[in-house]
């Protein structure tokens, strides 16, 4: 049936090295990606209270019906789920997501996803070539970095690069010119699991959750996939026409006259936006994931910084500039380090900021309170970055503590409470690095707190934070007024459709409307971005400067591509409803892991210290939309801190909106049954954790 799915999910049991085909049709109700992953996790992880390194942990690597198609900003994304080992004090069931070619090759190989169970008794890597799945000895690649590992696997799987390779024994077996898509951990990742990412190609990382460490705990080094098959599309002509329609609202259709509107617009943004972080004189090309229309990265003439973006550079660029008076090639080299070593870039950024503050206070160094012989005199140089990374990889010097994860590290140093209260250790919630600020851009913080990880979902961030902030920095009036923004957001945030959802005033951040904002955001992202896999750097498209009324593609675009591929008729609003169902399933898993609303508290600095740039390496003063005295405007909310009581009152509003027990934050039976999740309610009830 031509509906975008291959029809098969690969179930792998590492313990007995067996494989099994599951029928995708049984899980299509979840869309793909995260939804399918959570459903599979629920089914196959028998004890959800185990740690992420327990052999019983179930890891899913999932695609969507749009993977490997022409749908813009989706075809190359892959979603990973499983119990993580990064969050503190409990490694929640979590997710991560990466771009590149992996999901495309997996679909072309004939699989909608992979479910990994058990633990191998010997180091292995998984070799998927079309329908053939083999367990390969990983002894020789276990200690290699991610680049070396991929090159070794490429050479093993295909005879020659950049030529046609026949993948089967007969003339009529498939051929391809493509390299295998490999997802791998860094060298000996079991030693630094909470810091360990999974890397694919040069710059696609699944960082959050410590899935590199989870892989290593299963004696699994890598998964390689290469396919020669097809993704069957229900309406090819509609898909082509939709793609050409999208050109009109992106760089692709405006190369001769790009927009001049000041602001940050994900779908319309020109390619290679982080290229500016490279050293002067670097020559490069735009680079993108499969099927991308934006192409937000680059490859360079020096071959350094290839495919990296955002915090891959930002973990070190500020320190490079401080050491050298400007960005040098050090930044690209540092980006390559974390890609090669498979280290979490956000954790490394928070670590660098922390080390800098400790250094300034004389608390770290030879013979200091935190004794370390790292070359701190070279802070900001390649030498220091390499020494820091190596200390983690080998668990030597302070690397032995960092390898535990940032919160356990600080706890071991006896500094966790004080340093997350003063804010020099920027762990916003669950021991996870501060990304965007809970005190100002509250939907980001609330979503992370009620969830399980830094949400890293820029839907509102682009339009409610960056655009007005950039306008303020440049001293220009935003072309999209705060009132117009509130109207656009209201149009696109079914079922709530409330303009007040964009009120980030001191009152608005604790309002019923902000509960709707967070609720909608959880639903939208769980389905459209994490299950159908629309890329976070292109969607949601709330505001598009190529549209006369600035109203972006969101609402119209998501189902247009999905239905062209599947032949279905899922509406945008129905997608939001499926997202709600997925969100409730995830919530139930966290409840079984031990979640209670009393745990859902930000780190102390969010309540004690005013928000200010410098909390990360990339922030600017916060200017946000506010509704005050009957008027919309953009206003600086920098310096704001959260009120503990008001946050708790907001949580109550939010839980009631979700149909969860406000005293515990646990879903109620009627809420779950309304979404056909009665079996989930049964499990919660059996555990004594069903909302009253």
């Amino acid at each position: 049936m031509a509906n975008g799915y291959t029809g098969k999910i690969l179930k792998v049991d590492l313990t007995d090295k067996s494989v099994e085909e599951l029928s995708t049709a049984d899980y299509e109700q979840w869309g793909g990606g995260h939804g399918m992953g959570s459903a599979l996790f629920w089914e196959y992880c028998e004890d959800k209270t185990i740690s992420g390194t327990d052999p019983g942990n179930v890891v899913t690597i999932m695609t969507s019906p749009l993977s490997g198609t022409l749908a813009p900003g989706v075809a190359g994304r892959t979603e990973i789920t499983g119990i993580g080992i990064q969050a503190y004090p409990i490694g929640w069931y979590t997710r991560s997501n990466f771009g590149g070619r992996f999901s495309t090759q997996l679909k072309f190989a004939g699989w909608d996803g992979i479910v990994i169970l058990g633990k191998s008794d010997t180091p292995v890597w998984l070799n998927i070539v079309d329908g053939k799945v083999t367990f390969e000895d990983a002894t020789d690649v276990w200690g290699l970095d991610t680049f070396e590992t991929q090159e070794e696997i490429w050479a093993t799987v295909t005879a020659s690069a950049d030529d046609w390779n026949a993948l089967g024994g007969s003339r009529d077996s498939g051929r391809t010119t493509q390299r295998p898509a490999v997802l791998t951990s860094g060298p000996n990742a079991e030693g630094y699991g909470p810091m360990a990412s999974l890397i694919h190609d040069a710059g696609n990382g699944a960082g959050q959750g410590g899935f590199g460490g989870v892989f290593a705990s299963k004696n699994l080094k890598a998964v390689s996939v290469l396919g020669t098959g097809s993704v069957q599309v229900a309406d090819p002509n509609a898909l082509m026409e939709a793609r050409l329609w999208a050109n009109e609202y992106s760089f692709a259709g405006h190369r001769d006259s790009t927009f001049t509107t000041v602001g940050s617009f994900p779908f319309a943004t020109s390619p290679g936006s982080t290229i500016g972080e490279m050293a002067p004189g670097v020559v490069s090309r735009p680079q993108g994931c499969v099927g991308c229309i934006r192409n937000c990265r680059a490859r360079t003439d020096k071959g350094e910084g290839n495919e990296s973006s955002c915090v891959d550079f930002f973990w070190y660029d500020a320190f490079d500039r401080a050491a050298h008076g400007g960005t040098t090639q050090t930044t690209a080299k540092a980006a390559d380090m974390i890609q090669k070593y498979g280290l979490n870039s956000f954790a490394m950024e928070a670590l660098m900021l922390y080390l800098g503050d400790l250094l300034q206070q004389g608390l770290i160094g030879p013979g200091a309170e935190i004794d370390s012989n790292l070359p701190f005199a070279s802070f900001g140089t390649v030498e220091f970055a390499e020494a820091l990374c190596q200390s983690i990889l080998t668990q030597t010097d302070i690397g032995a503590d960092i390898a535990l994860g940032l919160a356990p590290m600080a706890a071991k140093w006896g500094r966790l409470e004080q340093d997350t209260t003063s804010g020099i250790l920027r762990l916003q919630e669950w021991g996870l690095p501060h990304h965007y600020d809970a005190r100002t851009e509250v939907e980001w913080g609330y979503g992370s707190l009620i969830g399980e990880r830094d949400i890293n979902e820029h839907d509102f961030n682009y339009v409610a934070y960056w655009t007005p902030t950039v306008c303020a920095l440049y001293g220009v009036e935003c072309e999209i007024s705060a009132e117009r923004l509130s109207e656009i957001v209201a149009e696109k945030t079914a079922p709530y459709n409330d303009p007040m959802m964009m009120d980030y005033s001191d009152e608005g951040i604790y309002s019923d409307a902000m509960a709707k904002t967070v609720s909608w955001h959880r639903y939208y992202t769980r389905y459209w971005k994490e299950s159908i896999l629309y890329c976070d750097w292109m969607w949601a498209d709330f505001v598009n400067p190529y549209r006369e009324d600035f109203s972006g593609l969101t609402g119209e675009g998501e189902p247009k591509f999905l239905n062209a591929v599947t032949g279905g008729n899922v509406t945008y609003e129905e997608g939001i409803e499926i997202g709600k169902r997925i969100w409730n399933l995830d919530r139930a898993i966290w409840i079984l892991q031990g979640r209670h609303r009393d745990q859902e508290v930000f780190s102390g600095y969010n309540y004690e210290v005013g928000a200010q740039p410098g909390t990360t390496t990339y922030e600017a003063p916060y200017t946000m939309p506010v509704y005050e005295n009957g008027q919309w405007s953009y206003k600086s909310v920098a310096g704001r801190m959260l009120d503990r009581d008001k946050v708790e009152a907001w949580k109550t509003k939010y839980f009631e909106l979700e149909g969860w027990d406000a005293t515990s934050g646990w879903p109620k039976r009627e809420t779950l049954e309304s979404m056909d999740l009665g079996y989930v309610a049964d499990a919660l009830e059996a555990a004594g954790k069903l909302g009253a």
Binding site: V231, F251, R285, E307
Partner: protein, 238 residues
């Protein structure tokens, strides 16, 4: 071989036929072709009267982002499904490579003297009578793959389609049953239409080309302002 007329040898040229075909067909070119549309040429052993293609895909690999949208669109419009292996244009790339050698766009050159056409024993591989586009009459293809092996480029621009069991190659979208748009030299090409970087365009004249590829600069001024100072330039296509 309906579209190829073979005549008796009459040339006094000092070139061997093989040397000529290799030279203008692709690898090891060294020389430059360009400008005029060549309708026929004398060869040492025989004269091939092969109509020139009325169009060529012109590519600038320095603008290519490696997204492979062109490959997906090619398979989608010809077969109704997305598939890298069925794409008649191939993007090969090394994520760890250095610009500009990290990416090749491997598209059919619509060679003036196509080795693939010459190698075909049945006339399945031919120049379309109307457009001159080198293409495959699938009904005539016997699957010998001589055309696949005869292509002087790596990877071969002629492919074996294992699903339908015939050779295939770029037809400039003359025949795209799964796309409503009119293709071919006078129409729209799927790969060109979807390329977000504008790295693929169309030319009705034989492009200037060297060993390194097409001598073409397709970059718009915006690429310089975005910091892609390497976009465009010379020897941009393979």
């Amino acid at each position: 071989m309906a579209d190829i007329e073979k005549k008796e040898e009459s040339s006094q040229s000092g070139y061997s036929r093989r040397q000529f075909l290799t030279g203008v067909g692709g690898i090891g070119v060294g020389a430059v072709l360009g400008g005029a549309l060549l309708k026929s040429i004398l060869l040492p052993e025989e004269v091939l009267a092969i109509p020139a293609s009325e169009g060529y895909l012109l590519v600038d690999t320095r603008k290519c982002s490696g997204c492979t949208s062109c490959m997906l669109a090619c398979a989608l419009t010809h077969y109704g499904e997305t598939n890298h292996s069925l794409a008649r244009i191939q993007i090969t790339q090394n994520p760890f490579g250095s610009f500009p050698n990290d990416i090749n766009i491997d598209q059919c050159r619509q060679c003036p003297y196509p080795s693939c056409v010459d190698a075909c024993p049945t006339g399945a591989m031919h120049a379309d009578a109307k457009t001159g586009v080198r293409t495959v009459d699938e009904a005539k293809c016997i699957g010998c793959e001589r055309c696949v092996n005869a292509c002087p480029f790596t990877p071969s621009r002629v492919q074996w389609n294992p699903q339908e069991k015939h050779a295939q190659k770029c037809d400039l979208c003359v025949d795209t049953p799964f796309w409503d748009k009119e293709g071919g030299p006078d129409g729209v090409r799927a790969c060109e239409a979807v390329c977000p970087m504008g790295a693929i365009t169309f030319s009705s004249e034989i492009p200037m080309q060297t060993d390194g590829g097409y001598n073409v600069d397709l970059h718009e001024p915006i690429f310089d302002t975005l910091g892609f100072t390497g976009a465009g330039g010379v020897a941009g296509g393979h």
